[in-house]
């Protein structure tokens, strides 16, 4: 069935779309902010949506902050939001290990202090965070002491990533029972001013290559992130809108979960990318075609404030 897709959202269509949904999920980087700068009009959009009775959630693959840290950042930028509305991969990975993996044991963590904190919040201890430079010679590396309570290797964004960490992960993973979990596969972590640094995807790929196995990935486009929100708040996919800037994570998540999808062009993906997927006719790519697009989410404002 040919459903009309990739339509410019403007005029009356905006109000029509917003009236048809009860909850709106926003990605963060490239959608409501870039680095430490809010996208112009974004706080007003979020706040107006809430005033209009919509539920708003933030769903981000970025694993460097806890829910609390995100709430603080949101507040500082003028967004009216609470901790409970934020779903980052630090929090969701901890939830995944707790509720899906039902992990009994510790985690070898390549990741941030935020991830460490979220794990501890669900009662899971970790080893490994922080700098870990190489010492000794090659045979020492194969014989690094392993904590027998470690039952999973978890990989998130880690600016202290090093060969030694990769090595430790490999040693733990030589036990086939040891789980391998990744927060996300994004190849870049966006910063302000259009800059970017290598993303978690690269670190995860290094671990997967060395260990010759694939990780279970928690973040978008895996439906787990949506499940997390939906289970806690009873969302109906048919009445939920996903707003994102990346076709292969945000939009694909939306498609995978039966949500309506809106692409904003203030981030990574371009309209040309979207059209490309649409014209490809390839079933694997059609999930990356958004229902609608806008140049910036600020375009939603008139319909909300009018």
């Amino acid at each position: 069935m040919a459903v009309s897709k990739c339509n410019r959202l403007n005029g009356a269509l905006i109000k029509e779309l917003l009236d048809s949904v009860e909850s709106v999920l926003f990605d963060c980087d490239g959608v409501i902010w870039r680095g430490d700068q809010a996208i112009a009009g974004a706080p007003e959009v979020i706040n107006s949506l809430k005033k209009n009775g919509k539920r708003v959630f933030f769903v981000t693959n970025n694993s460097t902050k806890t829910r609390k840290m995100y709430a603080d950042k949101l507040a500082k930028m003028g967004f009216n939001a609470t901790e409970d509305e934020v779903f980052g991969t630090a929090y969701c990975s901890a939830m995944y290990l707790k509720s899906v993996s039902k992990l009994k044991g510790k985690v070898y963590l390549i990741g941030s202090n935020a991830m460490k904190e979220e794990l501890l919040n669900v009662g899971i201890e970790e080893v490994g965070t922080g700098p870990d430079p190489i010492t000794g010679v090659q045979i020492d590396w194969a014989n690094v002491p392993l904590d027998p309570e470690v039952k999973a290797v978890v990989v998130g964004f880690d600016e202290h990533f090093s060969y030694m960490k990769l090595n430790r992960a490999l040693q733990y993973l030589s036990n086939p029972e040891c789980l391998l979990i990744g927060t996300n596969t994004d190849t870049q972590l966006p910063l302000e001013g259009g800059k970017a640094v290598p993303g978690t995807g690269c670190l995860l790929k290094a671990v997967e290559t060395a260990a010759q196995r694939k990780a279970q990935v928690v973040g978008k486009p895996n439906h787990f992130m949506f499940d997390c929100v939906a289970n806690q708040y009873g969302l109906d996919p048919a009445e939920t809108l996903m707003v994102g800037d990346r076709l292969d994570t945000d939009i694909l998540l939306g498609s995978n979960c039966g949500l309506k999808t809106l692409l904003t062009l203030t981030g990574v993906s371009t309209l040309a990318d979207a059209k490309d997927h649409q014209l490809s006719g390839c079933p694997d790519r059609l999930g990356m075609v958004p229902d609608y697009f806008v140049e910036t989410i600020a375009e939603l404002l008139p319909a909300l404030q009018g």
Binding site: L170, T187, Q188, P198, E208, A210
Partner: protein, 309 residues
């Protein structure tokens, strides 16, 4: 449909079969780790095998993906482990071949940003290829804002135990320029150590960089053809008169297949007979290239071939 059209290969050979095979070969290429030595221990009989082949007038080459040493260190290792008459010219390591590639094939202008160790640095220096050496404990700049050298026109990634996020970030910045070359010494995802343990290989570091840049590296080492082309250009080697002996199906045997050489798997290293047979029984034509023509338990079996009449 069970089985492919021809299920040849994986032929375990001994004695006169080995002798007949070797009689037809003028050039023998050996991988090192797991074939002629394991760590600091020569495979028993390996030094005698090499001497014997040379006495028979064959040209013997050593083709290794291991980029951690310069060739002159390899010469010392050969000598230390009892191999006589192995000259630097006989050794083709991925570090050496990367330097040759940069100098003679890419004809690189400008500097090379290296993620690697002394093995690579020395070979680049010897080849006269300028490079930028990343100091790991210099904290000028962070991953978010690092100073770049404007003369860098190529990135070479190899085994680097000092690999860290800063190096990854810098390499990515350089590779954002499509004109900047992207080379990898070898694709090995892990390296075997004594006692069945493993350590992450160059391939895992290359994978990180490929993912970050969404670019594919040009790989110098096996199974890519370049190391053979290096040998052939220096010694005029005829593939049909050559035998590649290795222990890793996915690198050595595939390398041999890619270069049109006969291939022999020796079982003193990484790959096992059942793995080779698994590839042989596979329906996928791609997998056929991993199947060795011949298999020996150890290259010391070559000596036995000489003893039999």
């Amino acid at each position: 449909m069970a089985g492919a059209v021809s299920s040849k290969g994986c032929q375990k050979i001994r004695g006169s079969q080995i002798r007949d095979l070797l009689d037809a070969k003028r050039y023998v290429l050996f991988d090192c780790d797991g074939v002629i030595w394991n760590g600091e221990t020569a495979v028993p009989g390996a030094p005698e095998v090499v001497s014997l082949l040379k006495q028979q007038g064959k040209l013997v080459f050593f083709v290794t993906n291991n980029c951690t040493r310069p060739r002159e260190n390899y010469v010392q290792k050969f000598s230390r482990l009892g191999f006589n008459d192995v000259a630097q010219e006989d050794i083709f390591s991925s570090a050496y071949c990367s330097a040759v590639y940069l100098r003679d094939v890419a004809k690189v202008q400008g500097k090379v940003f290296v993620i690697g160790g002394n093995g690579v640095f020395k070979e680049l220096r010897d080849a006269g290829v300028p490079f930028v050496e990343e100091e790991t404990d210099v904290s000028d700049g962070s991953i978010y804002d690092c100073p770049l050298d404007s003369e860098v026109s190529a990135v070479l990634v190899g085994y680097d135990e000092k690999f860290n996020f800063l190096k990854l970030a810098k390499a990515c910045c350089y590779l954002r320029n499509a004109e900047c070359l992207f080379l990898a010494t070898d694709p090995d995802p892990w390296h075997p150590l004594r006692g069945g343990r493993v350590t992450p290989g160059s391939g895992s570091l290359t994978a990180a960089l490929e993912t970050a840049t969404e670019r594919k590296a040009t790989v110098i080492g096996k199974p890519s053809r370049f190391m053979f082309e290096c040998i052939a250009s220096q010694f005029g080697v005829d593939p049909t008169q050559s035998l590649m002996v290795g222990d890793r199906l996915e690198t050595d045997i595939l390398f041999g297949a890619n270069c049109g050489l006969d291939t022999m798997l020796t079982l003193t290293g990484v790959s096992r007979m059942d793995e080779a047979e698994g590839y042989k029984d596979s329906d996928s034509p791609e997998k056929k290239k991993f199947v060795p023509d011949y298999v020996v338990d150890t290259i010391a079996d070559f000596l036995q071939a000489q003893e039999e009449d």
